[in-house]
């Protein structure tokens, strides 16, 4: 189906179903129950899932296929956000022109940065991309303030021209982002018994775009172009002596992946029309790397999983405070309860980054293939038990 083989079609359908049914899947607990805090079916959170999914899918095209580790990808995200907000300020609040512009501008940025950075490989490439991203970040904070609005961040205001729209909405506020009139913030709530499921227009727009982005990435992975990118990772020397020029391939991958990041940045601004320089900081780049690795670099599903995983736990973990911990461990004797709370405390709430760092170290050390590899290992172990005979590993996977 859609030019994909059977396995990829199944994968695509699963991802599509999971994404489109996210408002149900992420909202398993009744609204009033104690566990409701673990629900993640809120519009802004779900939007973040899919937007970071796009980001990680794009990063994976570069890192997963070619092995070039970019530490400056957040720059494209930031550039995409700024472009989109400018489009909202100047043209209209329709998200289509904004997204198109952010993809184009991010692509151009990636072309320039990639052209220079890809002259080197390995650690040098990582440092060069890092240097470019930090440069963009520093500039956005300082001299480029007329474009970026410095520390405050770029926002839409009431005196923006918006030549194809209105400067001020009827209610006196700045107009909201929309898709031909369909407002991004609009949410329908479906009350089913004790559950309240939220369906948000913005989320579904992002979700459909993510599915398209995922589909394109599957096509790239399976195409001769994708094969060449994997060849770059495997042996550049042989590639050259096989009549292939590696640089255009890596540059193409870099630009495509930059455009994905730009798309994500544009969508981020479309959901919430503001853009700040902190989106370009190198810790943000690190987060993109982290998602991809955690999920499984070089696999199709990995980046989506990684992005969802990190964003979900970021949300959940940072919400847990000592009171919640005490209710969890309430069945324990008092002394033990306090002890457990003290032990767990540093890892939750504001300590989420600590957990993330540890998790990251564990994954890189023991599970370089990320969650996807973990899943495969478990599946393999289970099937081995069933059949009681080791299967030969499938090389095509």
């Amino acid at each position: 189906m859609f030019g994909l083989n059977k396995k990829d079609t199944t994968l695509f359908i699963i991802v599509a179903a999971m994404t489109l049914l996210a408002p149900f899947i992420l909202n398993p607990f009744p609204t009033d129950s104690a566990l409701a805090q673990f629900n993640a079916g809120y519009p802004d959170l779900m939007q973040r899932f899919v937007i970071f999914g796009i980001l990680a899918i794009g990063f994976n095209i570069l890192f997963g296929l070619t092995g070039y580790l970019s530490f400056g990808h957040a720059a494209f995200l930031g550039v995409g956000s700024y472009s989109a907000v400018w489009m909202f300020k100047l043209l209209s609040m329709n998200i289509i022109p904004a997204i198109i512009l952010s993809v184009i501008i991010a692509g151009l940025f990636a072309l320039v940065i990639g052209y220079v950075s890809l002259r080197r490989s390995g650690i040098y490439f990582s440092i060069l991309t890092l240097a470019f991203a930090q440069m963009s970040f520093n500039l956005a904070y300082s001299v480029l303030t007329p474009i970026t609005n410095g520390e405050t961040g770029l926002q839409i205001t009431l005196d923006d021209p918006r030549v194809l729209g209105v400067s001020v909405a009827e209610n006196g506020n700045p107009p909201v982002t929309n898709l031909f009139g369909l407002e991004m913030r609009e949410t329908f709530t479906l009350d089913l018994g004790a559950w309240a499921f939220q369906f948000n227009i913005g989320f579904y727009v992002c979700a459909l775009i993510m599915l398209a982005a995922f589909y394109v990435s599957v096509r790239i992975f399976r195409s001769p172009f994708g094969l060449m990118l994997r060849a770059v990772k495997s042996n550049q020397h042989r590639m050259n002596y096989t009549g292939l020029s590696t640089r255009p391939y890596t540059l193409a991958a870099f630009v495509i992946s930059g455009m994905y990041a730009g798309l994500a940045g544009g969508l981020m601004a479309s959901m919430d029309p503001l853009a700040g320089a902190e989106r370009m900081q190198w810790t943000a780049s690190g987060e993109i790397v982290l998602m991809t690795i955690l999920g499984g670099a070089g696999t199709l599903l990995g980046p989506v999983l990684g992005a969802g995983f990190i964003k979900y736990f970021e949300n959940i973990f940072s919400k847990i405070n000592d009171n919640i911990l005490h209710t969890w461990f309430a069945i324990m004797p008092d002394g033990l309860e306090d002890l457990l709370v003290t032990i767990v405390h540093p890892f939750v709430g504001k300590g989420w980054h600590l957990t993330l760092g540890l998790l990251f170290m564990l994954v890189v050390t023991f599970l370089p293939g990320g969650l996807v590899e973990g899943g495969q290992r478990i599946a393999k172990a289970l099937s081995r038990k069933k059949k009681d005979e080791p299967k030969t590993p499938d090389a095509s996977e």
Binding site: R120, I123, I127, Q134, Q236, W282, G357, V364, P368
Partner: protein, 342 residues
């Protein structure tokens, strides 16, 4: 002219910090072949050793002094630091005042142990893994160290003053025969001198001891040295400890210049990597040279005259230089062939 001189002086202390971190990074690159993204964290840990020592020395107990009363007429409570009661008020006060330099004595063993634990516990499992994995795992470690420090010390910068003697500035103006004054804080002079001493010590150590000879040989050709029956791994563990100590000492002494916060390591790390790359990966003199060069360039670029000429240049000068150097001299200023090249 004197403005430029002042900026060069200003660049020296930042340059010293870059040079010290870059030196440690290069030692680890060169000997172990590992790209250590957690090296900035070691610098930060060093700074927090200074913070901790200062806090420990200030640790006090309360006594009620019957001879004094507070403004309500109640007997006043007086805080006495333990060090003052143990070593006498004068020695104790001096210890508190000199806590940052004294922290060096604590930092050396602490950092060496931290270095050993890091190398034996984590890094050694990554010698044979791709550089990307090394970057990623040390990046994770850096986050962990950073977050632990944040959990204990909070997110705000903690002022850590230098001894009183070093407060104030030295005027270079008359010394250089200038009419204008050229004030330069004493502690920064101390920092520069200290860094120069450490750099000198590391070079002397590598140059004049047998241990250093083996390490240098190992940097040039690890396999051959291994074949000679020398236990190079053990030597390299020690080297890692030394690199950690150098970074830590750089941090201890930097604490009075910039109040330590948990992310100072990351800030310095990014720049130090750029420094290493500019200097030439695997070249110790290159790291030092590039450290000072970029520190000074950064200072000069922040002069108003230059900022008016090219707006924003002070923010990006280091990166611009790095990009230009990498593109024209791929191996950096003093890089050797075959280091970290695929």
């Amino acid at each position: 002219m004197d403005a430029i001189l002042l900026q060069i002086l200003n660049g020296l202390d930042k340059g010293s910090a870059y040079a010290l971190i870059a030196l440690g990074l290069t030692l680890i690159f060169g000997t172990l072949g590992v790209v250590n993204f957690a090296h900035g964290a070691l610098f930060m840990v060093g700074a927090f050793v200074a913070v901790t020592v200062q806090r420990l020395f200030n640790w006090s107990f309360e006594t009620v002094d019957p001879t004094k009363t507070d403004f309500l007429g109640n007997p006043a409570k007086v805080k006495t630091p333990y060090v003052e009661s143990w070593f006498g008020p004068e020695v104790g006060a001096a210890m508190i005042d000199w806590s940052v330099p004294l922290a060096i004595l604590f930092a050396i063993p602490i950092m060496i142990v931290v270095g050993f634990v890091m190398e034996r516990g984590l890094i050694k499992h990554f010698y044979k893994r791709p550089h990307a994995d090394q970057i990623l795992v040390t990046f994770g470690l850096a986050i962990v160290v950073q977050e632990i420090v944040k959990a204990y010390y909070g997110a705000n910068p903690i002022p850590t003053p230098a001894p009183d003697v070093f407060k104030g500035s030295f005027d270079f103006g008359p010394l250089l025969g200038l009419d204008t004054s050229l004030a330069y804080p004493y502690w920064r002079l101390v920092y520069f001198g200290f860094s120069a001493a450490i750099i000198g010590a590391v070079f002397a150590f590598l140059q004049f001891t047998t241990f250093g000879l083996v390490v240098r040989a190992g940097m040039a050709d690890r396999e051959t040295v291994g074949l000679l029956g020398i236990n190079i791994d053990k030597k390299f563990t020690i080297m890692f400890g030394i690199a950690a100590a150098v970074a830590g000492l750089a941090g201890v002494m930097y604490a009075p210049i910039n109040s330590p916060n948990y992310h100072m390591g990351m800030d310095f790390l990014v720049l130090s990597f750029v420094v290493v790359v500019v200097g030439g990966m695997g070249s110790l003199p290159g790291a030092v040279l590039a450290g000072f060069m970029l520190g000074i360039l950064e200072s000069i670029a922040s002069m108003n005259v230059i900022k008016e000429l090219i707006p924003g240049i002070d923010q990006i000068i280091i990166y611009v230089v790095a990009i230009l150097i990498l593109l024209t001299r791929p191996r950096g200023l003093m890089g050797r062939k075959g280091v970290m090249e695929d």
